[in-house]
């Protein structure tokens, strides 16, 4: 009797403590949100929200704060990173969960986990020294006739996207392959039984069944790409300008929203600082939209 009440009490204490801990994360999210909006929103309203978002020029010394080129920069780098990274990631996920022998999976899986653990500044160094140099050789060599000189340095959308593509691989691979694993093996077997080849079964039955998980993995990868800062600063050149339209644009140097905050926060005066917080608000909104899409997808699935 005594021990039972004791157990109950223990249970309840643990529950309450866990609840408090869980609330901490909610509270910190709230505090971060409030803090960023409190610091940045008044500035944005004062300056004019559309002037801020659609302004083409960023010149803090002269109190001009337009972040449109950085919004475009962020979007282009992210989209290109997805175009490069997502197909590879999904292919690896399919290979690991359906095709590769267990031995191979056992070797590759830990490596992918390791990839996720490499600090982003290391990706940046690699990008700056290796990827940028390769792009420079291409842009300054065979393509030098058609590119303006500022697009020939290798500091470019492409360099940023390649690095980001590698960085989002672990996210895409892990979540996609979990989703593919979750598809009941009967689907695959039934398709084979109906005379489909292994590849037909994968392409027309298994992968479509895991669609929402795969899409979720891509969206989470997008979140990672949007938020990446250090590696990006080191390879994209940080020029505040909208890239040229067309294929040449991928060789253009750009600045991302995260890069803008990280580059200038250290030195910023009061108004400049607020403008950087306002940049943070835009990023925050980007991420919230992405997460809402993920949530909606997960709900639809349920």
């Amino acid at each position: 009797m005594f021990s039972k009440t004791n157990n109950n009490l223990e249970e309840r204490i643990v529950k309450v403590i866990l609840l408090i801990l869980a609330l901490t994360s909610v509270v910190s999210l709230g505090l971060i949100g409030i803090f960023i909006f409190k610091e940045g929103l008044p500035f944005m309203v004062n300056y004019g929200i559309s002037d801020f978002i659609f302004g083409m020029e960023w010149d803090p010394l002269n109190h001009v704060y337009g972040i449109f080129p950085m919004i475009i920069g962020t979007i282009i780098v992210t989209i290109l990173a997805l175009l490069l990274g997502a197909p590879i990631g999904i292919a690896v996920a399919i290979f690991l969960s359906l095709i590769a022998p267990a031995k191979v999976t056992r070797v590759i899986r830990p490596m992918i986990d390791l990839l996720a653990g490499i600090p982003s500044v290391i990706y940046g160094l690699f990008g700056m020294v290796v990827v940028r140099a390769m792009i420079r050789n291409l842009a300054h060599g065979p393509l030098s006739e058609s590119l303006p000189s500022t697009y020939q340095t290798g500091y470019s959308v492409l360099a940023g996207s390649i690095i980001l593509a590698i960085m989002i691989l672990p996210t895409v691979i892990t979540i996609s392959s979990d989703a593919i694993h979750a598809v009941p093996s009967e689907y695959h077997e039934a398709a084979l039984g109906l005379g489909a080849s292994k590849w037909q079964s994968i392409a027309t039955v298994v992968v479509p069944a895991a669609k929402s998980g795969i899409i979720t993995s891509i969206i989470l990868g997008t979140g990672r790409a949007l938020g990446e800062t250090m590696a990006i600063i080191m390879v994209v050149g940080n020029t505040v300008a909208i890239p040229a339209l067309g294929w040449k644009g991928i060789f253009a140097p750009v600045r991302t929203l995260t890069g803008n905050v990280a580059l200038e926060m250290g030195y910023a005066g009061p108004e400049h600082r607020q403008a950087l917080f306002a940049t943070g608000i835009i990023l925050f909104i980007f991420i919230m939209i992405l997460n809402s899409i993920t949530l909606a997808l997960v709900k639809k699935e349920d």
């Binding site: 300008a241 200038e264 910023a268």
Partner: protein, 289 residues
């Protein structure tokens, strides 16, 4: 439920009290250590305690060297040097969050409430790739290049290649100094690559034959070529004599309402001594005395 709440409250109180005690303990422990250090200090003839410094990343490497030498003489003294930028240095002095703020530019008129000690002068070297045939530019040509009015090396005696301009980020002390000295009211060309450290600028320029950038004189090395400006080499002698036009002061600033701590004063004296100024020179900057 009431019991649980009571229990929780009790445990909370206990935790608070325990932590409070721990805090007191560690504080008194530290003070005790300090006392011990003081007695030791009497024997070695040094000062003890901690000096904090924050501010310009251009001054930081020099401050660290000075601090290392100072700590060699005063083994019980500790100097914590952190970055943050010139603006942060002034703020730290105004808000007394550090003993010294480091500022790598002239102090503006509206930056009040601080005492300024100039510890060194820094030249800014205009750098190009080692293979670039251009050797000498006028201040006006440099201005036109960074403003985007001169866009091809052939216009200033180089190869027929477009110029790639590399600059620092907005707010950087080096960029501020460069803007003040070279550009004035004219705006930097929009297509300039922006790098956020001396090292990154050098990396860009040493990898790009057509690039031009600028770094602290202390950051100049054989990876890149420092251009003559108005016919003078970027050397310490030329800056001291006033011949080389692209230069700026390195300042320590401290709150004017509060006397420097004994230790901070000792450090400042060391920096301004011949010994300290010798280190300034060793690091590639120009001594003030």
């Amino acid at each position: 439920m009431k019991k649980t709440l009571l229990f929780l409250l009790l445990s909370l109180f206990t935790t608070v009290i325990l932590f409070g005690c721990a805090g007191d303990d560690s504080e008194s422990g530290l003070a005790g250590d300090g006392d011990v250090e003081d007695t030791n200090a009497g024997e070695t003839g040094g000062a003890s305690g901690t000096i904090t410094m924050a501010g310009s990343t251009s001054v930081q490497p020099l401050s660290e060297e000075l601090a290392a030498a100072f700590m060699e003489q005063n083994p019980d003294a500790r100097l914590e040097v952190s970055g943050g930028g010139s603006g942060a240095g002034i703020q730290a002095a105004q808000e007394k969050t550090a003993d010294f703020g480091a500022v790598s530019r002239e102090i503006a008129d509206d930056e009040t409430g601080i005492n300024t000690y100039t510890i060194a002068i820094d030249g800014i070297a205009i750098i190009v790739h080692a293979d670039n045939s251009v050797e000498d530019l006028t201040l006006d040509q440099i201005k036109q290049i960074f403003a985007g009015e001169i866009t091809n090396w052939s216009e200033i005696g180089g190869a027929d290649e477009e110029i790639v301009v590399v600059s620092r980020e907005d707010g950087s002390g080096t960029r501020g100094a460069f803007t003040d000295i070279v550009l004035g009211d004219i705006e930097l060309i929009q297509s300039a690559l922006i790098q956020n450290s001396t090292g990154a600028v050098k990396e860009s320029v040493s990898n790009e034959v057509n690039a031009i950038g600028y770094v602290s004189l202390g950051g100049l090395d054989d990876d890149v070529k420092g251009l003559k400006v108005d016919g003078t080499d970027p050397t310490a002698e030329n800056i001291t004599s006033g011949d080389y036009p692209v230069a700026r002061p390195f300042n320590y600033v401290a709150n004017e309402d509060e006397d420097l701590s004994e230790l901070a004063q000792a450090f400042l004296n060391f920096v301004e001594s011949d010994e300290g100024q010798a280190i300034v020179e060793e690091q590639g900057f120009i001594p003030v005395n």
